[in-house]
Amino acid sequence: MSSGFKNRALRSVAAVALVSALGTPVMAEEIFYVSGSVGKAVENFKTLVKPWEDATGNTVTIVPMPASTSDQFGQYRLWLAAGATDIDLYQTDVIWAPQLADHFVDMSEAAKDLAPTHFPSIIESQTVAGKLVALPIFTDAPALYYRKDLLEKYGVAVPKTWDELTAAATTIQEGERAAGKGDFWGYVWQGNAYEGLTCDALEWVKSFGGGQIVEADGTISINNEKAVKALETAAGWVGTISPEGVLAYGEEESRGVWQTGNAAFMRNWPYAYTLGNGDDSAVKGLFDVTTLPVGAAGDTSAATLGGWNVAVSKYSKHQDVAISLALYLAGPEAQKARAISESALPTIVALYDDADIAAAQPIIPQWKEVFLNAVPRPSAPTLGKYNEVSSKFWSAVHETLSGNGSAADNLAGLEADLADLKGDAW
């Protein structure tokens, strides 16, 4: 990044010259913002920060990272451990706050007016020992995407339980294949061994009433009959209504199958809504979303709470400017713009009643319901060990889905591993 520094220095010099000529006492800075790139996030970011750049005279350069959150986390951790000054702001996943808290600036003072307008549970998830580590910029809760046209064609109702989903997907898949679409699949989701599988599987387990892996008080609850049933149901999909390759799919791979019109149902995050309605999409206008199914009538639907936040690095040399950008990105103006352009769910409560958002993205007010059923991953009770807990969970699930060992055996093994990892306390 030495050329970056040089550029930065040159630009600052140019800015000083300009400012002194105009007589305005503003110092323009160039700051660096790092973020994973899913869908069109990187392209949209430039438009999103334009108003802030115009108002303050500073510029932001986005440093794109791989879409996989595990890859991002590894890189950020290395940079932060080395005290890198090149990056001023980090876009962080909702689960990272306890693990990276030491390296970020406390924003509770700067955001004392803004924070109370957000959902309290989200602000709480980003607060570690009284320190507001990151400001939420959008939240995420997945939903079930379904093809309206195909459900109508085969006379199937929108599924409410996982069994109904399995039946509907089988009917549609058989029908479409008989009609000559050999690559058509009933249901696509995220089955690769990574953080995304933890999200998917947590939803199955929770919606069957099987708890949330590690409960808020730290007890390990994963080894129970309902969780076993949930995993057995999911394992039954692989190779029947879902391609075997789903075991290597992340969000983008499943969206690929879905958006080319080769799937009847998909589990995905809200970003896929806008992209699915893009001009290059084969399913434009043909689909709708609903809450994820439940295990049996009477259970409640579960959607893993996702969401992204912006944190200011303790090692940044432009902390004031960076905090100003963080406040802008977490503020109503940027959240509204992001909701309209990317169907990203706002974290500011009032925006769910905003008329412009409702007009541009009619699903967002609907999504409030999905969001109310959101279940957090056990990152708060497991603290610094969360990544290992998650990795052990997704490995046990992936083994079960691949047919290596039964769900009951794998979950019993997982329980023992987690107890080992926990030791006396998390």
């Binding site: 590894g74 693990q99 089955g191 390759g245 075991l247 290992e388 490995s395």
Partner: protein, 322 residues
């Protein structure tokens, strides 16, 4: 005895030999310093970290805990005694086993294929220079790029491999190469062999070109059959070059990381020693534990290479059998 020495003695009491050694030392010094900084120092630090409880959030605050990361005995409150640490970690031994399996299979295949390719390229034919350059292309592509490229080719839904095999009638349904545990290792091996065979071919070719032509002419006049010529003449004569090539490849294969990290990062069927130690170092909050695994990886490599050199009597000094 004294009479022979003054003949080469110079002023300052240094012999020519000593002077040359002194000069050589000064010429070598920059390289030794560089090597110490980029190889020895990081290695020593990793070994040090493995004996402490360092975490990535606090790199300089680790406390000495001896060999606890390798093996420690825990007595639980109910009196049961259990062993913990890398040396009794099944995930680690799974990774060791994966790495060994990968290394042996890939190096054997690459050596055999590389030798065949080298024999073909050693023959005189038109456009030989062009073919020699072309065959190096897989090796010249950065691993990350070729791994990503193969990941798409191996994709179950849009992958070209499944498409071709289906059209040729070799498989009846699409195979999810990197997803299923049975095929994940084959997928990784396939890509690695594709990528590194050219490297082996090049090293074998260099060995082949050292073999004097007149031996072959003599064999031809005597009417020895070509298979016998290969096993009795070619193979023994290129053995030293081949052994060195195999060491290089083996060292590379034992520390394989990038290809697997891109193709199948979290699959227990392909996780190697490097992949698992990185996981502990960075993903999990176990920097010291990961350092212990890195140290073991180094130790395994060192033992392996020493054994190989000793058993194969490989001469790395380049001075032949003098």
């Amino acid at each position: 005895m004294t009479a022979s020495k003054p003949a080469i003695a110079r002023d300052g009491g240094l012999s020519l030999q000593q002077q040359r050694q002194k000069a050589a030392f000064w010429f070598l010094a920059p390289m030794l310093i560089a090597l110490f900084c980029v190889a020895a120092w990081p290695l020593l630090r990793t070994v040090w970290f493995s004996l402490t409880d360092t975490s990535l959030n606090n790199l300089y605050g680790g406390k000495w805990i001896g060999f606890d990361n390798y093996l420690r005995v825990q007595t639980l409150s109910n009196g049961t005694v259990r062993y913990k640490g890398t040396l009794v970690d099944p995930a680690w031994w799974n990774a060791v086993w994966n790495t060994l399996r990968f290394s042996v299979v890939s190096v054997v295949c690459e050596t055999v294929l590389g030798l065949i390719v080298a024999l073909v390229l050693n023959a005189e034919f038109k456009g030989r220079g062009l073919v020699r350059a072309a065959i190096l292309i897989p090796w010249a592509i950065p691993t990350i790029v070729s791994a990503k490229m193969w990941a798409w080719m191996l994709n179950d839904q849009y992958g070209i491999l499944n498409d071709m095999a289906l059209n040729l009638g070799l498989i009846s349904s699409k195979i999810a190469w990197t997803a299923t545990t049975d095929t994940a290792m084959y997928a990784v091996l396939m890509v690695d062999i594709w990528k590194t065979t050219p490297f082996m071919a090049l090293l074998c070719l260099a060995g082949l070109q050292m073999v004097p032509r007149d031996i072959y002419e003599a064999a031809k006049i005597d009417g020895i059959n070509p298979v016998k010529v290969f096993f009795k003449i070619t193979l023994p004569l290129i053995r030293p070059a081949l052994m060195v090539a195999v060491i290089f490849r083996m060292l590379d294969a034992l520390r394989i990381f990038d290809l697997i990290y891109v193709l199948t990062p979290n699959s227990a069927a392909t996780k190697t020693m490097s992949v698992i130690s990185r996981e502990n170092l960075i993903e999990f909050d176990k920097f010291a534990y990961g350092s212990a695994q890195s140290t073991l990886l180094f130790a395994i490599l060192a033992v392996f290479v020493s054994l190989y050199i000793w058993l194969g009597k490989v001469d790395l000094s380049g001075e032949g059998g003098k």
